[in-house]
Symmetry: C2
Subunit: 437 residues, 2 copies
C-alpha cells in the first residue's frame, strides 16, 4: 500500500447546478469544502454547470444547426462545468486554502467514445493523488471525461453525480456527499404527506426502487455505481448544516424495516391491448418498436386469457406511460399490430385482437422496502389500507386498477384523483410518519 493511502479520510463532495448558480452560492460551497478540509479530510469537489448554463449552450448549438455532431456537442457542453470548477477553485483559494481545478481530460477520466452518453472505462488516480498529497482541495469538472481519441466526452443526464460516485469509488473515499436543493430522501413527498419523515439510512436497492416509482432523488446510474463499489452516498441540502440521507449497503438491521418509503407517480396513461396471440417473440417485437420510437414505458402487465398451451393461446397486455408520450404511441402501435397481423402463420385476424384501448388520468402509488422480502403480508396490508381509504370517486374505498410488484416494491395503478389520498393512507398503514412529539 502506498504511504499516502488512508493518511486522512477522503471525502468527495458534489454540488449540483442550483447549488452553484451564482457567485454567492459558489462561495458557500467553497466554505463547505474548506470546513471539511479543516476537519482533517482530504477533499475532492465535483461541480455541475452553473444554473441554466447547459440549457443555454444547447440553445446556442440549436441556433447554429438543427443537428450538431455529438462530438462537438460534448466539446461545447463540457465548458459549462469547466467554468464552475475554475471559479470554485478560486473561491476556495480566497479562503486561504490551496485548490486546483481539473477538467475531465486533466483528471484522466477515461471513457469510451460514445459521445453524449459515454461509459466510464478507468480513472487515473495519480494526478488527483498528487494534488491531494500537496495539500490542495481538488475541484473536478463533473459530467465529462476523455475518449479514446482524446476528444472530450460527456456522461449524459445526471452525469455529475456519476462523476462524483466514480471518483469516490476509484479513490476509495470514505463517503460521497451529494449536495442538492433537498435535505434528503423522505418516506413520502412532504408536500403531500404532512408527517413524512426524512430517511436516515436506506439501501442502494431501496433508493433505486424509490427513484423508479417516482421519488425524485438522485440519478439512478450513480446509485447503481455506488452499489457496485459500495460507496456510501450522503444526500444533503447544500445550504443547511443537517445530516441528510445515507445510501449504504444493505445491513442485517435494515432487514427489519418492511417499507422504507412510499411514492406517487402522476400523469400516467395506460394502453390496453385486449387480445394478442401469445406466441414467443410477440412482446419483444411490440416493445422494441416502442423503444425505437424513444417512448419510455413505465410498467408492463400481461395476463393470459386462454391457457391451453396450444398455438391458439391469447393474452392481454397493458402498459403504463407518461401522458406526454401518449400522442406518439398510437402510430407506433398501429404499425406494429398490423405487421403482426400480416405475419404468416398467425391464426388470429386483426379484428379478433380487439381494439386497443387508451386510458388517461391514472397514477401509481408504490411502497418500497428491502424488508418486504422477508415479511409476508406487506401486500395485503397495502391493499387493505387502500380499501379502507375514502375514494375521491365516492362509493367508499379506493379501487385498484392494476397491480405490479418486484421483490422489494408493490405498485398500484389508481385513478388520479385518488393518488394523494392513497399515498397518505399507505404511508400511515406502514407507520412511516414522524412519531408524535
Amino acid at each position: 500500500m502506498p504511504p499516502y493511502s488512508h493518511r486522512v479520510p477522503l471525502l468527495v463532495q458534489k454540488f449540483g447546478g442550483s447549488s452553484v448558480a451564482d457567485p454567492d452560492r459558489i462561495r458557500r460551497c467553497a466554505q463547505r469544502a474548506y470546513d471539511a478540509r479543516r476537519r482533517g479530510n482530504d477533499v475532492i469537489v465535483v461541480v455541475s454547470a452553473m444554473g441554466k448554463t447547459t440549457d443555454r449552450l444547447i440553445e446556442l448549438a440549436g441556433d447554429v444547426t438543427p443537428s450538431p455532431p455529438k462530438r462537438e456537442m460534448d466539446q461545447l457542453l463540457a465548458t459549462g462545468e469547466q467554468v464552475t470548477c475554475a471559479v470554485t477553485a478560486m473561491a476556495i483559494d480566497a479562503l486561504g486554502q490551496p485548490a486546483v481545478s481539473l477538467t475531465g481530460p486533466q483528471v484522466g477520466f477515461h471513457t469510451d467514445g460514445s459521445h453524449t452518453k459515454a461509459r466510464i472505462r478507468s480513472i487515473n488516480e495519480a494526478a488527483i493523488r498528487k494534488h491531494l498529497g500537496d495539500g490542495r482541495i481538488v475541484v473536478v469538472a463533473g459530467f465529462q471525461g476523455v475518449g479514446p481519441d482524446g476528444s472530450v466526452t460527456t456522461l449524459g443526464r445526471g452525469g455529475s453525480d456519476t462523476t462524483a460516485v466514480a471518483l469516490a469509488a476509484a479513490l476509495r473515499a470514505e463517503e460521497c456527499e451529494i449536495f442538492t436543493d433537498v435535505d434528503g430522501v423522505y418516506t413520502a413527498d412532504p408536500r403531500i404527506v404532512e408527517d413524512a419523515r426524512k430517511i436516515e439510512r436506506i439501501s442502494y436497492e431501496g433508493i433505486i426502487e424509490l427513484a423508479a416509482v417516482g421519488a425524485k432523488v438522485m440519478a439512478l446510474r450513480s446509485v447503481l455505481l455506488g452499489a457496485k463499489y459500495n460507496v456510501p452516498i450522503h444526500v444533503r441540502h447544500s445550504m443547511l448544516p443537517d445530516a441528510g440521507t445515507m445510501i449504504v449497503p444493505e445491513t442485517a438491521e435494515m432487514e427489519h424495516e418492511q417499507v422504507t418509503g412510499v411514492a406517487l407517480k402522476t400523469n400516467l396513461g395506460r394502453v390496453f391491448i385486449p387480445s394478442l396471440p401469445n406466441t414467443p417473440g410477440v412482446q419483444g417485437r411490440i416493445f422494441a418498436a416502442i423503444a425505437e420510437a424513444n417512448i419510455m414505458v413505465d410498467d408492463i402487465i400481461q395476463n393470459e386469457i386462454t391457457g391451453t398451451g396450444a398455438g391458439g393461446d391469447t393474452m392481454n397486455v397493458s402498459f403504463t406511460l407518461e401522458h406526454s408520450d401518449l400522442a406518439d404511441i398510437k402510430p407506433v402501435l398501429d404499425r406494429i399490430l398490423s405487421e403482426l397481423d400480416a405475419a404468416p402463420g398467425r391464426g388470429v385476424g386483426s379484428a379478433g385482437w380487439g381494439a386497443v384501448r387508451v386510458d388517461v388520468g391514472l397514477c401509481k402509488v408504490s411502497a418500497v422496502g428491502v424488508g418486504m422480502r422477508s415479511h409476508t403480508g406487506v401486500a395485503a396490508r397495502m391493499f387493505r389500507a387502500l380499501a379502507e381509504a375514502e375514494s375521491g370517486g365516492g362509493g367508499g374505498g379506493i379501487r385498484i386498477q392494476n397491480i405490479t410488484t418486484s421483490e422489494i416494491k408493490i405498485s398500484c395503478i389508481l385513478a388520479k384523483e385518488d393518488g394523494e389520498r392513497a399515498l397518505r393512507a399507505v404511508h400511515e398503514a406502514f407507520g412511516l410518519g414522524r412519531p408524535a412529539q
Copy 2:
C-alpha cells in the same frame, strides 16, 4: 518529406470576437472556411471568444474573489474560445463539410507555465495533420495552450492572433488570414483623412511602426512572430469579399516607397525634467521606477545641457505618456527624484534640478515607411508640410514641440488642436491619397 506535405496549399483563417459574436456571424465565418476548402485549400480556423464573453468571465471571477489565482483564471478564460470553436465546427459540419474542434491542449499547443501571458514553446503538428489528411477543417480555440504541468495557459492580449500566426508558422501555411471588423490597413485613419487609401502590401517592420505610433491594426506580438517565420498575414474584413492588406517580408520593390502610412496618436501628456545630473544609471533608475508602477511611457527625449565630460554634466529629459497615466506619474517621480537627490556623491541639490513640468493636450503625428532608410529629405518634407499647414492656434504654420525618429519613422509632438490638420497635410505631402478618378 512526408507524403502529405504540400499536397494542397494550407490556409489559416482567424476570426476575432466581433466576427463570431452571434450564431449568424458564426455561420458566415463557417461559410468563408467552407469556400476556402472548396477552392482546394486545407483550412485551419482559429477563433476568439464570442463578443464580450471574456469580459463576462473576468467579471464572474471578480464576483468571487478580488485576487483569483492566475492558473484558475486561465482555466476559466479558455472556456470562451472552446465554446466558439465547438459551435464553429458545428456550423461548418452543417454545410456538409466535416470539421473538428480542438482546444489548445488537444492541439498540443505547448507553452511555458507563465499563466495569463504564456510564451509558446512548441506546437505538435501531428494531431492537426491527421485531421487535415482525413479531409476535415480543423477549428482551433485561440488564445490558449497547455503548460508543462498539463494546466491550460493563455497567451495574453491579442492571443488569438498569436495562435493563428504560430500555427501558420508551425505548419508552413501559405497564408494567415486575420478576419476582423476593418477591411485592411490604411495610409491614414479614413475618419480623419478623407482620401486615405487601403495599403495593399506592407512589410512587418512597417506595420510594427504603424501600430506603435497609434494605428489600430493587429496585435504587435503576432506581427513579430510573423516576421520571425516569414508568414504572410492577410488582414481582411470578415463580412466583405474584398482583399485586405498583405503583411509580408520586405521586398526590393518596397524600398521605393518612402512613406507607407501616417498615424495620429491623441490624448498625450508630456513630463519635462529640466535638469538632471547626467551620470550613468540615472535614466535607468527613473524609467525602471515608472515601469514598476505599470505606467506605459510613449517616447523619451533627452538633451544634454552642459557637455563638459566632467562629473557636473547635466541634461534635460522629457517623455510623453497617455493622459490616463498622468495622475499616477507624480508620486512616482517625486519619490525617485528625491532618492536621486539623497544619493551620496551627487553634486547638484534638488533645487538645482528645476521643477518638473507637466504639459497636457498634446498629440503625435508620425510618418512610417521602410523606404525612409534609403531616401534623404523625408524628414525635411514632413517638417515643411507642417510649417506650410495652417495652425489651429493661428499665426500660420504648425509648431513642432518635439521630434523623435527611428530608422523608418518620424514623429512630431504637436498641440492637440493641430493633430488632424497635421495628419492630412503630411498624408498629402507624401502623395498617399487615392489618385483622382
